[in-house]
Point group: C2
Chain length 107, copies 2
């Protein structure tokens, strides 16, 4: 039954292993940058809430965007009950790439 499904645990890279170019690429798409801005401004959001902010993006594309951000170390995507919560890894990113996120979010 759907209600018995275990939430899927996704992998998150150690930021020490993430290259700057990977982060820059993840931020170079307007939809992904908008999502990062939203998470920075409003804090963690459920996947459904994130999705609601990009209603014109096809669901498969949206999932791809979330995955690209997660694999670049920009966001976590963790189960919370039956929902999933997406959060910006802001402090970790600041430690790995000082000033980068602030410079990007400032524009």
């Amino acid at each position: 039954m759907a209600g018995d499904r275990q939430p899927r645990l996704l992998t998150h890279p150690d930021l020490g292993d993430v290259e700057l170019t990977t982060v820059l690429f993840a931020l170079s798409d307007p939809s992904r940058l908008a999502l990062v801005r939203e998470l920075a401004a409003e804090g963690p959001r459920t996947v459904e809430e994130c999705r609601g902010s990009e209603p014109d993006v096809p669901k498969s594309t949206f999932s791809h965007h979330l995955r690209t951000l997660r694999e670049a170390g920009l966001v976590t995507n963790e189960p919370l009950g039956r929902r999933r919560v997406v959060a910006l890894r802001r402090e970790e990113l600041e430690g790995r790439f000082p000033g980068l996120l602030d410079a990007v979010l400032g524009h």
Copy 2:
């Protein structure tokens, strides 16, 4: 005759028209990022000098990288006699995207 060729004038975007995502994409390739770092550290260089720093990159790929950087407003590419000189648009970039280049070059 080759010696009589007029140097080709390339177009350069007004930085006010350049989107942040375009700049981030241009910087998201390791070869392009290395070239930007080199121009930041050493000042303007001829195309041949730039090319010499990336000997393993095919010439057509290198030309594509230079074009991507120019169209993103990151570099100028201007004739100087029979040579061409590539320069980072550092002050202009700082005006348009404060802190971004320093944050990227710091890593």
